[in-house]
């Protein structure tokens, strides 16, 4: 490790412990970025970086991100699937950093799926 020390980690641990204890272990929303070779080549990594940034900024702790492989629609990559608990999953295509930020605000935080970028609703569940 270069500059940060174990003490820095300990600070994070102490700071987080109080909020973490309140969580019930579950999450409200899950965002899957499709990271097959096609997705990565089309810019999927940028989507994930944008999402991590939005999650940190919004200070939400019940949203998780994960990756999956090629969904068989390589021409519409980069793609992401948003699953809100007890709602049908929505698959979005032709995304970029700005569009996924928009989806995060409108759909994940606001609860309203963004029809203009949506490809399909209710096609798959991974939870």
């Amino acid at each position: 490790m270069a500059r940060l020390t174990i003490d820095d980690l300990k600070k994070i641990k102490e700071k987080q412990k109080s909020t973490f204890a309140l969580r019930e272990g579950g999450y409200r929303a899950k965002i899957t970025v499709h990271m097959g070779t096609c997705g990565i080549a089309a810019g999927a990594r940028e989507l994930m970086t944008a999402l991590l940034d939005e999650i940190a900024q919004a200070k939400v702790e019940d949203v998780i991100t994960t990756t999956s492989g090629c969904a068989g629609l390589c021409a519409r990559e980069p793609m992401a699937t948003v699953e809100i608990m007890n709602k049908p999953p929505v698959k979005y295509g032709d995304l970029n950093g700005d569009r996924i930020r928009e989806i995060f605000k409108e759909h994940v935080l606001g609860g309203n799926p963004l029809e203009k970028y949506a490809l399909v609703v209710g096609s798959e569940t991974t939870y």
Partner: protein, 183 residues
């Protein structure tokens, strides 16, 4: 792929799909030896000889939903374009090691790209997997082991924003330091 860090992300995703719980990423940048080496090894389910023979064929895939498998063929092409090569060591049930070697100063060698972003994306979306990242740039070396971090964090999830920021800052600090040493 625009740069090598995207290839690394792609190959590491293969490891995850192969059920790996530990993924080692090693990068060696040795200007004196004129070598750039990338090695990704995992403890996933590995491949049998039959699969290994076909894995660099772009029209071979293990997935039923598609007819191409471009990840490894593209990496092999990127390596061969600059006097390098791709080697795969694997056995059924005992993991896979992918090594790609590149001539460091070859005009067609892709830049390494943003390794911090690749690692952050991997760790944040797969917090349960142990990532061991070793990077050597000439005389300067860096190592990060998320298994040790996890132990230290004592229950705080690896993908919480504070931890992600910690990891990001740590890798960036070393990369900047290593770059300055070369100049």
């Amino acid at each position: 792929m625009k740069d090598l860090s995207l290839h690394i992300l792609d190959i590491a995703e293969n490891s995850i799909n192969a059920g790996a719980t530990e993924i080692r990423i090693r990068i060696v940048e040795d200007i004196k030896e004129n070598l750039l080496l990338i090695e990704i090894s995992d403890n996933g389910r590995g491949m049998d000889d039959e699969t290994l023979k076909k894995v660099c064929d772009p029209f071979f895939t293990t997935k039923a939903c598609k007819r191409t498998g471009l990840g490894l063929p593209l990496l092999a092409q990127s390596a061969k374009e600059c006097c390098g090569d791709l080697t795969i060591r694997t056995a059924k049930g005992s993991g896979t090691t992918i090594s790609a070697a590149f001539q460091y100063d070859h005009i067609d060698r892709k830049p390494l790209g943003d390794m911090t972003e690749t690692l952050i994306v991997l760790i944040a979306s797969h917090p349960e997997i142990d990532f061991i990242y070793k990077h050597r740039k000439n005389e300067s070396a860096y190592i990060m082991n998320t298994a040790l971090l996890r132990e230290e964090l004592d229950g705080i999830p690896m993908n919480s924003p504070e931890v992600i920021k910690f990891i990001k800052d740590d890798i960036n600090a070393w990369l900047n330091q290593a770059d300055n040493m070369i100049q």
